[in-house]
């Protein structure tokens, strides 16, 4: 079966590389980039891209042409004229995700069932974003396993050690007798109204 070269794909990969590195990849790098097994294949692909006017060969060196690298582009894909003021202003904004989640790999969602943190504004049915892997500071709200029992409480420290405080007068503070595992620190509360 004759292989059909994926020109569009190759150009996109070279462009991405150019954006990142501000240079063309070497033959060895192109091998991996295009997913070829032999440098001869790379050579063939380059010849084709040369024919199509993406590249040029100058004294044995491959040079990228404007068709590949594009001309200077500052903000977004603006065909002509100045970038729109809105686009310029919106270069430094956070998405709601980024605003709520500081460490995306370590953040999990938990639906709260109990009412032990009601005075802290966390009611049954609320969703909390829990970050794992951190060390809690006093006054942080934590998900913790105290002597095999999982609970949502304020993390506190005093002369006698760690104390977990509820935010509901119905419940008492607890102190771990045997073990304490911190499952994560609450970083945000989400409540959605329909």
């Amino acid at each position: 079966m004759p292989r059909v070269m994926d020109v569009e794909g190759h150009v996109a990969k070279l462009r991405a590389f150019w954006r990142r590195e501000r240079r063309l990849p070497g033959y060895g790098e192109m091998l991996g980039l295009f997913g070829y097994q032999s440098k001869n294949a790379v050579f063939g692909a380059l010849r084709k891209l040369e024919d199509l006017g993406f590249l040029e060969r100058k004294r044995g060196r491959v040079v990228a042409l404007g068709r590949l690298t594009g001309t200077l582009r500052l903000l977004g894909a603006v065909q002509a004229g100045f970038p729109s003021p809105a686009e310029e202003e919106l270069a430094d904004i956070l998405s709601l995700d980024e605003f709520l989640i500081r460490r995306p790999e370590a953040t999990f969602m938990l639906t709260v069932q109990g009412d032990s943190m009601i005075a802290a504004g966390i009611v049954p049915g609320d969703m909390v974003l829990v970050e794992k892997g951190g060390t809690p500071k006093p006054n942080d709200i934590v998900v913790a396993q105290v002597d095999d029992e999982w609970t949502l409480k304020y993390y506190m420290k005093d002369r006698d050690g760690v104390r977990l405080d509820p935010a509901n007068p119905k419940y008492k503070s607890i102190r771990p007798a045997r073990s304490l595992v911190i499952g994560g620190i609450v970083k945000a509360v989400i409540r959605k109204y329909d």
Binding site: V4, G9, G32, E105, L110, V112, G114, K132, W150
Partner: protein
């Protein structure tokens, strides 16, 4: 017998292989913390064990065992339906954590990958061993699962390393240690040696991977050709297989296999499942702008015996409907009335790029293009309203065998958050704790 090492240098190249320990079960224990330390298995919806936690493995339960058998062996076993969405979210995070250390990360499968650390000691101000250990510690702290890591000069050696100590193991194999390490590795553990190769090598009196590398390169080449030569080099510490960061885009074949939630003797139901697989496979073919020239169909019975047939298409196809009559013929010759089936599978092969169109003398290009336009319209509808919203008529029979057990669904799907739907859920793993 004292022997010279293959290499005196420790890490002219530093590649790690990381492998999630009992990945699916570990993820379940991570989102259901009360299951930690307990025997847990996944695969409830299929009636067969997909993954067993280390606690379950210790009781003799392993992947592939039937659930009935497993519960008999361990009455307290916690059996969970597979939650591939959560496993994939964890997988993605695992690779994102690896990318904190190097951009050269290869996603080899859902639960294992490679990373090339070469030259990163200065950037991280520490040794390769320490970088690998930090990565491992990050995974444990943030994802609450463990990975086993092998560090060496090549992908093949690193992969042997990660399997050497499990779970949560770390096995560095620097240049001078390669030879001694390989002496402890039986042939069948080597990545790339299948049962046939092992049988062949055993004929020559080989026992360990070290025996293999003790022969000259030409010998490996003569016996196993290019692959033999490459493995020989990889095992001796010269990196021949690069860590490839590219997302997979040139497929050799695309396959779809789905096991029914309950086995069925109803041919129309089995046919409906098969058609659904054909549809899914072709959706993928079109997404990657490919066409298929070959199609293979397989039916698997409840007793795991299977039968399959393969068909060459007279032109490359990307429209599902175009192959259905041919697939029906295959199906008719495969199906045994009265037999109980558990899965169907479709493999599309001889894939080629969608780019150029060439028509046979006897074909009607207008008709083909019309069908392609229809197919595109169907894809557009499904993109908007969810996969398989619009599908071929046999899918009406899919409901015949639907077991409406809520417990066969992962909690993520049975306890939706406000605003989530059966089709779309938040891209974040959920912890299930009663607090």
């Amino acid at each position: 017998m004292p022997e010279f090492p293959f290499l005196y240098q420790s890490y002219p190249r530093a590649i790690i292989h990381f492998d999630g320990d009992a990945f699916f079960a570990a993820v379940e224990q991570s989102i259901h913390p009360e299951l930690k330390g307990k025997p847990v298995v996944t695969g409830k919806e299929r009636g067969i064990i997909a993954c067993a936690s280390y606690e379950a493995k210790a009781l003799g339960i392993s992947r592939g065992l039937s659930l009935r058998e497993a519960i008999r062996m361990c009455p307290g076993l916690k059996v969970l339906p597979s939650d591939y969405e959560t496993y994939s979210l964890y997988s993605k995070r695992m690779f994102d954590i690896a990318r904190r250390y190097t951009p050269m990360v290869e996603e080899y499968s859902i639960d294992e990958g490679f990373a090339d650390l070469t030259g990163l000691r200065r950037l991280h101000h520490t040794s390769y061993e320490e970088i690998a250990l930090r990565f491992q510690a990050d995974i444990r702290a943030e994802l609450d699962i463990t990975v086993s890591v092998g560090l060496s000069l090549t992908k093949s050696l690193a992969k042997l390393g990660s399997k050497f100590r499990k779970p949560a193991g770390f096995t560095p194999i620097p240049g001078p240690d390669i030879r001694g390490f390989l002496a402890q590795i039986p042939l069948e553990k080597v990545w790339g040696f299948g049962p046939n190769t092992v049988a062949l090598l055993t004929q020559y009196g080989l026992k360990t991977a070290c025996d293999f590398t003790a022969h000259p390169e030409e010998w490996a080449d003569r016996l196993m050709g290019k692959v033999g030569r490459e493995l020989w080099g990889e095992l001796r510490g010269s990196a021949l297989y690069p860590v490839t960061t590219e997302e997979k885009s040139n497929y050799c074949s695309i396959s779809k296999c789905k096991t029914f939630t309950a086995p069925s003797t109803d041919p129309e139901f089995v046919w409906a499942k098969l058609v659904r697989n054909v549809e899914s496979a072709f959706i993928k073919v079109r997404r990657h702008k490919l066409r298929a020239r070959q199609i293979a169909v397989m039916l698997r019975k409840q007793d795991f015996r299977q039968a399959g047939l393969e068909l060459r298409l007279n032109r490359p196809v990307s429209v599902t409907r175009d192959v259905i009559p041919a697939v029906r013929d295959l199906f008719e010759s495969l199906i045994e009335r009265g037999a109980e089936y558990r899965a169907t599978m479709v493999v599309l092969g001889k894939l080629e790029s969608d780019g150029e169109r060439q028509y046979d003398l006897f074909e009607d290009p207008v008709r083909i293009e019309k069908r392609e336009a229809l197919s595109e319209a169907v894809d557009a509808v499904n993109d908007r309203y969810g996969k398989h919203t619009l599908s071929l008529a046999p899918s009406l029979f899919l409901d015949r065998n639907r077991r409406t057990g809520r417990d066969d669904q992962p909690q993520r799907k049975s306890a939706l958050l406000p605003g989530e739907t059966r089709r779309q859920r938040l891209a974040i793993p959920r912890l299930f704790l009663n607090v």
